[in-house]
Structure formats: C-alpha cells, structure tokens
Symmetry: C2
Subunit: 423 residues, 2 copies
Amino acid sequence: MCYIKDLYKYEGEEVTIKGWVYNRRSSGKIVFLLIRDGTGIVQVVVSQGKVSEDVFGLCDTIPYESSVIITGRAYKDERAPGGYELSFENIVVVSFAEDYPISLKEHGIEFLMERRHLWLRSRKPLAVMRIRSTCIKAICDFFDSKGFVRLDAPLLTPSACESTTTLFEVPYFDTKAYLSQSGQLYMEAGCMALGRVYCFGPSFRAEKSKTRRHLTEFWQVEPEVAYATLEDVMKLAEGLVEYIVASVLDKNSLELEILERDTKLLKKIKNPFGSITYTEAVNLVDMDWGGDFGAPEETKLSNMFEKPILVTGYPHEIKAFYMKRNPQDDRIALNFDMLAPEGYGEIIGGGQREDDLAKLEERIDEYNLPRKHYEWYLDLRRYGTCPHAGFGLGLERTVAWICGVHHVRETIPFPRTIDRIYP
Amino acid sequence: MCYIKDLYKYEGEEVTIKGWVYNRRSSGKIVFLLIRDGTGIVQVVVSQGKVSEDVFGLCDTIPYESSVIITGRAYKDERAPGGYELSFENIVVVSFAEDYPISLKEHGIEFLMERRHLWLRSRKPLAVMRIRSTCIKAICDFFDSKGFVRLDAPLLTPSACESTTTLFEVPYFDTKAYLSQSGQLYMEAGCMALGRVYCFGPSFRAEKSKTRRHLTEFWQVEPEVAYATLEDVMKLAEGLVEYIVASVLDKNSLELEILERDTKLLKKIKNPFGSITYTEAVNLVDMDWGGDFGAPEETKLSNMFEKPILVTGYPHEIKAFYMKRNPQDDRIALNFDMLAPEGYGEIIGGGQREDDLAKLEERIDEYNLPRKHYEWYLDLRRYGTCPHAGFGLGLERTVAWICGVHHVRETIPFPRTIDRIYP
C-alpha cells in the first residue's frame, strides 16, 4: 500500500492506493478518476479497450465518495497537481457510496456546516485543517525549544476568570462548576513553580454575539513567565507569531495555493512588528478615549498595517481585574493586544499581572468576584510574589488570518456557536 | 539574568538568578540557601564576615518561598545536584513570603491537594509535571513524524460516546450539551477525510468511583486510521508507548531520580510488547468468561508481565457499541486494551470500528442511543465506509506508570475528582 503523497518514490512501479472517488471526467474512451486518500489527490487514467467493458463501465459510473482500492502504475506528469498520475490496472470497490450530498457547486454555509463531517473531505476544508495542524505543532515546538514546560489548566473550574456573563455553568455532583474561559490564573501558579509554562487547550465563552470572530468553544495557547515584564512577553508574542507563519509557509505551500492565499503578505511577517499605544490607536480610528474597539474599529486599525500591530496601554476599566496598572499613569493597564493585518484583528491579548496582594484584593472586591474562590490565586501574592506576565493567542483567529478565511468557524474541525452543537 | 539550569555556561562568572528561597541550612558561620527558579535548584553559600551582618542575618532568616534576586559567582561542585554552586555576592528581596504552609515534612494528601497551586513548587510534583510535559511533546512528535494530521474534537457535544451514565450535562443556551467523553467518533469522520488523524485534549467522565485510576477530567490522545485493521493500530500503539518512554528516559533522568524511579524497568519497554487474548487473560486471573476485569484482576494481570501487555478480543457486551465484532466469532470484539506493567493496568483501549451501516444502526438501537444524534456518524458508513481502527491513550495513567506514582491525581496539574474542583 502506498500513500498518494509518496507516489514520487515509486515512479514506474505498480502501487496500490486506498481511498475515495473524489471526482471524475469522462471523454468517452477515457475516464479520469480523481482519487483522494487524505494525503493527496491523484488522477487515475482508465482507457477503454485496455480494461474489460464491466470495469470501464464501473469506473465511468461509480458514485463519488465510494471507497476504493486501486492498483496502477505511477508515472510522472508535470501537469498533475502532485506531479504524478496513475495508469489504471485494477479496482476493488470497498463500498459504493449513497448519493453524495456535497457537490463541487456552491452550497450555503448552513448546509455545509450541518454536514461538517463530510464537508471536511473537500479541498478547502482539508487545506485549512492541515494548516491548523501545522500551527499547533509550531506552537508546541516554539515553546518547547525555549524551555517552557507545558502545564495544562483545568477546564472545570470553581470560578470565572474573565467576564462572568459569558460563563457556561455545569452541574458538578452536588455543587456546580464553570467551563474555563482561560487558563491564565492557573498558569500564574505554574510560572511560580516552573518559571516558564504554557497551556494549550480549549476555552469556552457563552458568547451570544454572532460575529465572524467568535466561537463558544475555541483553542488558545497561554504562556506565562515569572519575573517577566510587559515588554518581555511582547517580544515573546512577536517571536511566536513569526515562527507560526514561517512554519506554514515552509510546510503548506500546496494548501496556501488551494486557498488562493497571497503569500507575499505572509512573507512580510518578520520581527519586529511595531507597536502603538491605545491612545494613538483611538486617534487613528477617530474614537473617544476610554472605550474598547468595536469590530469596525478593530478591522480599520488592522487594515492600516502590513504586519501585526501591538497596541499597548488600554484603559484598565475595559480589561480584566488581574491586569497590573502603569505606575506612571494609573488609568491604563500594562497590557497589549496584537492585531493581525488585513482586517483580521485581535489574535493575542496579554500583559503584566497585578503582583501586589493588597491591590489585587481591592480589585477582586471592585469587580464583585467571590473572594473565597480566589483565595488560592491570592496565595500567589502571599508567598513569593514577583513581576510576571503572559498572554493568550487564539488559535482559530490566527489560522483564519493565515489561511485568509473570513470566518473563524471554518478554522476548527467542528465549530460550536450559539446555534450549533451538531455534528 | 541566568537560569539555574544554564549555570554551567558561566563557570567563574558573576551571574544573577531570579527565584525563590526553597530551603536553608545554617552552620553558625555559613548559611546555605537553596534557591529554585523553575529550571533547577542551586545552593548559594553565604559566609559570615564576607557580607555585612544585616545581609547575613537576612539570609539566615528570610522566610521560605520569598522571591529573591541573587547575584553570585558560579563554580563547579560535583556534590551539588546540578553540578554547580553559587558564592554569594548580593541579594535583593522582591517579596517576603508569609509563613509558608508546606514544609519538607509529610503532609496529608488532602492538605496538599487543597494547596495544589503551592504544592506544585515542591520537588516531586515538579518532577512529575516535567515528565508529563515530555510525554505530551513526545506524543505530538510521534504522530507528526508519521504523517498524522492533528484534528481536535469538540468538547461540547450533542450526544454520548461511551456510557451515558457518566455524562456531564451543560445547559447550552436554549438546549443542552454534554462534555465529551472521547473524541473518537469525530476522529472517525476525520480519518475518512485526512487518512490518519489524532486529537489530543481533555475528556470528561462523571465518575462517582474514587479509585487511583480515575479523574473526572483527564487528557487522552486518540489516533484514528482509515483502512487500518486491529493489528495495524496495535502496532501503532506499541510504537507510541515505546517512543514516549524513550523520550522520558532521554530527557528526564534527573526527574526520574528525584522520583526514585527504577529506570531498569523502563529501559525494558521495547517492541514488540506481546499480546494475549481476553480468554487467556481470564484464565490467568481465575475469572469467569464474560465480565470486565475489576481493579484487582487488572492489577494482577498487569503484574504478570515486564512490558505492557496487549489483551485482545473482549466480549462485545462489555465494550462500546461502535466496536466491530470478530467475523469468526460474533461474541467477541475486534478490540484491544494495553495494560502497563507493575500493577498500573489499562493505559490504552482501542480497536477496529463497525463499518457496516446496517449493523451499526442495529447496535445504536440495541444500546438505546438516540438515533438522530448519530445520523452524522451513520453518514460515515453511507458515504465510502471502509475498515478503520484507532485507540485512546490516557495521559495521566501513562504518566503515573512512567513516574511510578500510585494515584493519577498527582499526574495532572489541577486534578478534578468527585469531591475536588478547587483550586
């Protein structure tokens, strides 16, 4: 057995591939079968006269997505997508497919999402999933190479980390738990033990808004570094994003081509990215100082730069309770957001954490958070507190930008939104 | 600034480390401070007379876990754990710790678990977490090197995958969802699209049993391969486990030493592991044919072999609905479990999946599962079904075995059990 991506190793030899009928062209005397096997697509050339009438008829009519085992001889053809074709020798039909609901014509997004388990077999979703997989591997390799220890945060938690209005509550035996919105608080405990840690897993937000940037279940990677400042983690974030983009350019040129992605833009993603202050940003988009950027402002800002832009020093009121404030100007937080270019907007949020016990206690009260759920978090300030900082990178938003896909729902295998938990 | 693990690069030079006071020995005229920074522990030698009385007094009394920045000169000392010590030059106290609740004396497990956020700073939990991190990286590298695409399964799902009695239900806007017990069904969709896929993330089981092998939230990696048989994935599982153990032996000798792990046993973990049938296994432990192994039987079996043992062909009644049955003997499933040695028991469960539509429909009805939630899963048998197989490896059980830790709760950063969701 041979995978389609490995055909080049078997030039002139007889090989057997196991896959599915992806498409077909017929010209009367020749049938061109496109077979996919998950690693690639290859064209199999079936000539009338060279095979029995039955076999030719079978190849000419077999339904799309039927599973087949095909034997043939591999030969080089520069016009073929993978550079190789197969001359047909034999076919074994593993299973005839029923009438396949997804055709190459355009379908509505709801129709496709309802059939996500099948739609994943199509060329574009396949390309996006391969790029997502590359991004995940790049993230793990990046942190591993820098000496970070992976320390996964729990998803069942006793308390909120970000906004309490977007929490999913879970009955938990005789009590209740919440699905984690972020692993950050746990990473703060982790960095006090291991210096540099990261978690990488799903997070949940009961988002009622239907926007192209929101899912109820999404993946994020969250590094946290003891004795680090805002500037330190801004550099770390730039390094990470540069590394992810470079990995995709290196490994997924075929997929980027399928997605018709302009790689010239991606090749510009090199450090340093550059940063502006929140105050400069609000001026750029004609907004009043104090509020958060809405989707239109974020898109506008994000369109102004060729590379991701780091925006620093937001008003602390619109940021989470744990953000440290600027000692020179108490109105603003020691934080940053990274906005991807081409209108994609925020892919990273991070900053330095409040490390002073008294101030943090005050904030927790101010934000009306239940103190007893945060006692363990306050312990981190009682026993050897120190400056520390970190950030969270949203995987789906990053993949959407790199792929040039408009909506994040296409960047996760099985998206979850306010009106979708199926399939 | 210098990390303790890098001290060897700076022999004879003045370096600054940032960390916490881990321990201290005093001999009147000399104070030995043990400083940890997450990457290691180094002994700092403070001699009376060479520093001011104030500084000496400070070093002699500073509370454990206070955060400190220490400057000193690195020198080689073969007796030191990392091979290097620091002669003291200067100390800056970042924060004096309150009276630290965890001492080097023995504490009860509940006392420590309630302070897990601090306990993680101790030598043994640190070693286990480093080994866990190595295992995760090894798993990702293994599947990446074999051409698998990582395809994460959703955690919010409309239906049960394994037992319906251990589901966590989540109110989801106007409907309800369940926390995923396994990503397998989604991986079956994935392998029909991408050939070889795996997911790696948390799973949930509302386990009421308090055993050393169960958590309500645990991590598992689940590969699934199209056109693969039971035998194919058994080989894959052996390769994976061999690779994980070899990675830990390679990268974590220091941690294994801290855990007093007998590495002679781990060094024997080489392919092939060997397999026995379920029928042979029940005879070995004097059990009646038909039931599942209880904890005592599993422990007994697991103690009989030096390497992990693969047990194949369980009665289908005690396995999930999606298991394919042996065509030669309809009573048994085409499945396998892998039991780790030394009494650790099951770390992997897997097998070949039912690929026949009619049989699968029958099973779903037999198991009283709601058909409409499985329509998408049945689609995989309608459109190009083929033999396929996969397995799930439980991360915490694997780490427990490799570390020689008795209870899985010590192998995850923040364990969740029936009576614990804090911290």
